[in-house]
Amino acid sequence: MKKIIQRSLFLLLISLFFASLWAEEIQLTAVQILGKADDVINAPQDQDLKIKLILIDKKGKEKVREMSMLQKGSDKRLVKFLSPADQKGIAFLSLPDDVMYLYMPAFKKIRRIASHVKNTKFAGTDFTYEDMEAVRYSDKYIPEFIEKKDNHFLLQLTPKEGIKTDYAKLIMWVREDNFYITKIEHYNRGDKLFKIMIRDKIEKIGEYWLARESEMQDLKSKHTTKMIIEEVKLDSEVSDDKFTKRNLEK
């Protein structure tokens, strides 16, 4: 009798142990998936891109503008607008520690832009400054595994404590094969879906994966922004002194 109890207790303990291991594995997996996804997106040392922005309003009217974007690591970035003509030369410089400068060619003046306005939209697009940041999702969010679906991992991300964000929840689609993020649904604090980002034309450029097109839809204003990468150079050893105020004016 005693033996039976001991044995069953032992079995119970064993199964509990494995059950917890199994649970942990899923937990780990969610974190791992997000970690890998972060790695894939931030893989290139630097990026030199020419981007076409298409802004589409709710009536379907389109506005097109072009910009060049130079990025090194996750915290140095120089954006210059190339067209239309009346916006040519407007430039932003982002440096570590949330330092950002703006250059207005018509005024020939550089101004520092305050950093706490991350939820404002970037240059008339549906991307906020927050969306444009090259931050690792793992640093800001706690992932949770939902399911596997159509060759994708579905993760639910909730912000870590103390993180300032407009998003109360993200549902993220991560490709099973290459861990590229293809879609993010953004939920507001009322737990309502209000923005959807979709990445398309995911290509392998050199050893890196890159989405040629990304789209952000604002469901409330029915406004959409398409970002199309027209030219791309990766790991071209961009020097640090490209990211200076003087270079902003050039």
Partner: protein, 772 residues
């Protein structure tokens, strides 16, 4: 009419069943009847001003603004700011709301201490100010900016606004309810006011429902009492009541089937039908009581009675329908047209029921045998009173006419004193939430009546922006025009933080640079269109005094006409100009409806009397009535508004009935007796009595509107009640006096009357004495 009478009596069973079935059918369709309290939705859509107003409303979210005002000892307190922030972000999540603006999320453009610029939110929602120093700092900053002071925060820092722009497709009432719900859940310590049309609509629809639920029972009880004391019989109460109830159900049923909602005006159709429509069945019952005296041969008697009474009842109802129909043509507001149309239809239904259903029932139920005791009782009561009136008229005809003329002149002198009121807020009683909110808004934020200017041209052109700014300065100089706002202000603000001063930049390049930073901000879509070919200048005005508005509309027009450029255009619209048009239309529609009603009624009277002078004479009580309406409005400061404008022609339509009935009866009695005295006293005893009963019931019916919650309806009720007395008195005193003194030929042959009127008065007195 005889044929109709015969048919009615022949098919009486079928008529009774048919009427009940129809009533059940229409009663069932009532379930789909809706209420639309939104007056704005009834502005004529083809009027260019309204068209532009609606266009701006749709494209720039201009007309669908719900305002929440938070009032506390001090807005800049930790918990209040926290509340405002929460409410703002909760409302932003509602489907029906396109944008919310409050001090916690409003766009802010400023330069910081490091020479940088900041285009962001006035208050960082993730780091709400908590310490007293932080709060004091943000308070001082906010109050120093014209963009916020007097717009989102009052100068005394005690009231702050949360401004919600509703989606064009949003259900305004539903969204307003949802907003209220959000705030009610918050358990605020601060006082909350709700302003703007969406919230006003909630109150209006509640008021309308309440009015229907309260007024109909009151008027029913009043009419029951009036009928009971007049007829002292069950049938005398129940039949008129059924006929008005049926006609009301039919009318509302038709409205429901045609998908036409009740409005703030047509809301009173039931009251009108009950007050006016009961008269027709009263006349029929009266006639039956008088003529159908025995159970033998009652079918023939019924046919004869109905044949005789149906003509005056038909005329009376036609004239009343005409009174309402006078509004169908050329009404500025569709809801006035609908009101005229369906009130007229209801009157027609009441007429049909009173000459079909009512006599059908009367011919079936047993005849009332009037006991002699009853008769003497009556003789002592109202008939005796009518006799006295008869004697008085005969004795004093000249005095009556002179008094009538005097009264008329005094009233006419009051006409220039009549004021006009088109202000929608004027509909609500003082002390209601809407009025309190509006007073607070006027006081602290410069009113909420929008003035809008649509600018077309190249908005990024410095010339256009400067013109916009100049025009705003012009508006600012008007004194009572507050808070002019446009993209030009934002550009100036931006130019200032770039260090070039608070002016419109001199080059297009600078403007487009600044513009670039504003793009995508919520506020932009309320100020310019997406390809920058159109912009809106918005402002508010405090008062809607008719004279002031007219002046402002003209001043703006003069200013805009003076701008000479083909490169851009400025066009004026807004509630102020719609009020101006409404005001103008009220005057026009007053004059027009009166003329239409007078002409039509003159024609009807002429047709009835076969005499032009007869037609004119029938109009005498009408002129008397009209004078009394306008006199009362002038002397007692009852303004002409969207409801009181209706009184004139409605009173003509109802009041003329008394003349028709009176002349009809007098003519018959005169031709029978060849004695004006006999004719007069007989007419007064019968028709005169019916008129007095009718005046009392109609008057009481309309006086019920005093209990209405909407001021125009109250005024309307009082005025109609007064005019009923006017036209009643006119018909039984002034009208006979004029007939007697002119010896009007249309009533018959006066040649056989030997003695003059003054000689006859003695014999009347003798006769009445003899009778006793």
């Amino acid at each position: 009419m005889k044929k109709v009478a015969e048919l009615v009596i022949k098919f009486r069973i079928g008529i009774i069943i048919g009427t009940i079935l129809l009533t059940l059918f229409f009663g069932y369709s009532l379930k789909d009847l809706t209420i639309n309290p939104d007056i704005v939705s009834y502005f004529p859509k083809d009027d260019p001003v309204v068209e532009l107003f609606n266009y701006i409303g749709e494209e720039y979210g201009g007309n669908q603004i719900a305002i929440i005002a938070i009032e506390a000892d001090e807005i800049f307190q930790e918990d209040i700011i926290h509340n405002i922030q929460e409410i703002t972000s909760d409302i932003q999540m509602l489907d029906g709301v396109s944008y919310v603006t409050s001090i916690t999320n409003v766009l802010n453009i400023k330069d910081d201490e490091f020479g940088g610029i900041e285009i962001g939110k006035l208050i960082d929602e993730y780091e709400l100010p908590e310490s007293l120093e932080e709060l004091q700092e943000i308070k001082e900053y906010t109050l120093s900016k014209e963009m916020y002071k007097g717009r989102l925060i009052s100068e005394d820092s005690k009231t702050s606004l949360i401004v919600c722009r509703l989606d064009v497709e949003a259900d305004k009432i539903k969204t307003a309810h949802q907003i209220k719900e959000i705030i009610n859940k918050k358990d605020l310590t601060a006082k909350v006011f709700y302003g703007g049309i969406p919230f006003q609509l909630i109150d209006l629809s509640d008021i309308m429902l309440n009015d229907i639920n309260v007024l109909i029972p009151i008027i029913s009880i009043l009419i029951i009492l009036a009928l009971f004391f007049s007829f002292r019989s069950f049938r005398g109460v129940i039949l008129p009541l059924l006929s008005v109830a049926f006609s009301t159900i039919w009318t509302l049923g038709v409205m429901s089937l045609l998908n036409i909602p009740l409005t703030v005006i047509s809301n009173i159709i039931p009251v009108i039908l009950m007050a006016v429509g009961s008269a027709y069945s009263i006349h029929v019952i009266n006639k039956f009581n008088e003529s159908v005296v025995s159970n033998e041969n009652r079918i023939e008697q019924s046919k004869k009675a109905l044949g005789e009474i149906s003509i005056p009842v038909l005329l009376a109802s036609i004239t009343t329908v005409v009174g309402f129909a006078a509004f169908v043509f050329g009404a500025y507001l569709d809801m006035i047209r609908d009101f005229g149309l369906f009130s007229g239809l209801g009157i027609f239904f009441a007429f049909v029921i009173s000459i079909t259903f009512v006599p059908s029932i009367l011919s079936i139920i047993p005849v009332i045998k009037t006991s002699s005791k009853n008769e003497t009782n009556n003789k002592k009561g109202i008939i005796l009173f009518m006799d006295k009136i008869g004697v008085f008229v005969l004795k004093n005809e000249r005095i009556i006419i002179i008094c009538g003329i005097l009264f008329f002149v005094i009233c006419i002198l009051g006409i220039p004193k009549i004021q006009r009121s088109v202000d929608m807020l004027d509909y609500f009683k003082k002390g209601t939430n809407i009025r309190l909110t509006e007073r607070m808004m006027e006081h602290k934020f410069g009113g909420s009546i929008p003035i809008q200017i649509l600018v077309k041209g190249d908005i990024q052109d410095p010339v256009v922006l400067s013109e916009m700014k100049k025009f705003e300065d012009f508006l600012n100089g008007q004194g009572d025009v507050k808070n002019p706002q446009s993209i030009a202000d934002l550009i100036e603000e931006m130019n200032d933080v770039m260090g070039d001063g608070k002016v419109i930049p001199d080059s297009r390049e600078k403007i487009t640079n600044l513009w670039f930073l504003l793009e995508g901000e919520d506020v932009m879509s309320q100020l310019v269109n997406s390809d920058y070919t159109e912009a809106v200048i918005q402002a508010t005005i405090v008062s809607v005094n008719s004279k002031r508005i007219k002046q402002l509309v003209n001043d703006i027009k003069t200013y805009l006409d003076g701008m000479s450029s083909s490169d851009f255009t400025f066009t004026q619209t807004g509630m102020h100009i719609i009020y101006y048009k409404l005001d103008d239309s009220i005057m026009k529609s007053q004059v027009q409806s009166l003329i239409i009603a007078l002409i039509l009624i003159f024609l009807i009277m002429m047709f009835q009397m076969h005499s032009v002078s007869g037609g004119l004479m029938g109009l005498i009580p009408i002129f008397f009535t009209l004078a009394s309406i306008f006199g009362v409005m002038g002397y007692f400061k009852i303004p002409l508004d969207i409801a009181t404008v209706l009184v004139g022609s409605i009173s003509i339509g109802i009041g003329i009935d008394y003349s028709i009935h009176f002349i009809n009866r007098f003519k018959k009695e005169f031709q029978q007796n060849h004695n004006e005295l006999e004719a007069l006293s007989k007419t007064l005893e019968t028709t005169g009595r019916a008129i007095v009963i009718n005046v009392i019931t109609v008057m009481l019916g309309f006086l019920v509107l005093i209990f209405a919650n909407l001021i125009p309806l109250q005024r309307f009720g009082i005025l109609v009640a007064i005019t009923m007395i006017g036209s009643g008195i006119g018909a039984i005193t002034l009208l006979p006096a004029v007939i007697l003194i002119t010896k009007a030929k249309f009533v018959g042959d006066w040649s056989e009357i030997k003695n003059g009127i003054f000689d006859k008065t003695n014999s009347v007195i003798k006769k009445t004495k003899l009778k006793k």
